[in-house]
Amino acid sequence: MNKLFVICLLVTFSNVSFAKVIHKERSLYRNIIVEDNYNLRCLKFNVKTSKTNQSCLYIDDPQKLVFNYTKLLFSSLLLLDKAPESILIIGLGGGTMSNSLHQLYPQATIENIEIDPAVIKVARQYFGFFENDKITSKVQDGRIFVKRAAMKKQKYDWIILDAFNGDYIPEHLLTKEFLEETKSLLTKDGVLSANTFSVSDLYAHESATYKAVFGDFYNVRNQKNSNRIILTSNNSLPSGEIIIERVKKLSSSLTPFGVDIAKISSNMTSTKEEQDWSDNTKVLTDQFSPANLLNQ
């Protein structure tokens, strides 16, 4: 009986009391908390629950990706017929995606756009986010960056949408107009992947909006968590055979990052075969985008 009690005690405390807050600040937009828990360091926004982790890394193995969704993002490579040369990331978090992609493709230029200067500072200080002449970060609202970049006719092979506020993706980054502007930044075979976790009503609206702009897309999921990567291409989606071929080519180079691309590819479903929302769902626009109200 005593033994059981001790075990219970250990189990409860091992989950809570060993997380140590190593940095805390209130930025213009949110509370930022950096927390160490054994070997895991996490960036959190607002409250101290595990649900709000924005970015994490293993302190003794920073190369290995922690989050499933970051791993799932690598499925984008299956839609590219060559290594990406220019990458745009909207929403920095801890900067782990930028770091990993630089290791994988040292020749690629990576532009990170982040609205909150405090997040960039924390990423540099605690998450080893590094910049050089290939990797840059800019403090700007994602929407404004995209509009200006479109005016300058900039093009990217791969665009990653990963911007979140306290609740979800900001409303003006969910609309048809925004996706059209972003699509105009893609190279001919360019790929756009968006990290989402919408539930209830918003799921259908979000899906319908992506389909209206890009046509059919891939949903990439993992049974373990609720994230869904929306994977779209400026070109038509590649066939199953091509994807299998690319899985073979990529798998060894992705293993160091803890990415099992074969497993991920088996969790990709095309909306061509499987559309799980109704056809008459209203598309989100700048005029109609009550996103955060729908996601409840």
Partner: protein
């Protein structure tokens, strides 16, 4: 207040949702309301009539309309010419909201003038007016942000606000006309 709230929504596609957006919007609204109060007060010193009061509503409704019609073009022009999104959003909220909000600001002092009949009660009348208009602002804010944006497009909401103002204007003018003709009739009757 409903319009102010939607202002954030209207500016977001061009100027983002950074804190300075709200800074710009609130600054412009406060600035134009202050001018509106001043002008409305001045206007209420001469030839006060319900018709003029109705005209204020009418003009307010009409000047709100360009937001639904040309806000895209106006903001695009400003977006292209001003690089800094702080001053861009300030210029855009100036262009879109400055004039209608001045006119809306004129309503309060003019209402005081129309409603005060007794000097002793002027404080009470002003109090009731502040109560009604601020409560209305609170309701407008909560209903717009909680429900209107769920069911309607931004333009549809602004258009409805505009139409409501115009209708109020017409009601005031017609009411004034009717009571005047009635007065003329009754004074005429006495003369006869």
């Amino acid at each position: 207040m409903g319009i102010e709230l939607l202002g954030g929504r209207i500016l977001a596609p061009f100027f983002g949702s950074s804190v300075h957006i709200w800074g710009s919007i609130i600054t412009v609204f406060m600035l134009s309301l202050s001018f509106g109060y001043l002008i409305g007060g001045k206007l209420s010193t001469k030839n006060v009539s319900l018709t003029r009061y109705g005209c204020i509503f009418l003009f307010a409704g009409i000047t709100v309309l360009p937001i639904t019609l040309w806000s895209g073009n106006i903001m695009e022009a400003i977006f292209i010419s001003i690089e800094d999104s702080r001053y861009g959003s300030l210029a855009a909220s100036m262009a879109l909201f400055f004039i209608p909000t001045i006119i809306l600001g004129m309503i309060s002092p003019y209402s005081v003038r129309l409603l005060v009949t007794d000097k002793d009660k002027s404080g009470q009348v002003a109090g009731v007016l502040y109560f009604v208009s601020t409560l209305g602002s609170a309701l407008g804010t909560i209903i717009t942000s909680f429900y209107f944006v769920l069911f309607f497009e931004v333009n549809a909401i602004i258009f409805t606000f505009s139409m409501t103002l115009i209708i109020f204007g017409f009601i005031a003018i017609t009411f004034d006309k009717l009571s005047k003709t009635k007065n003329e009739n009754s004074t005429g009757a006495i003369h006869e």
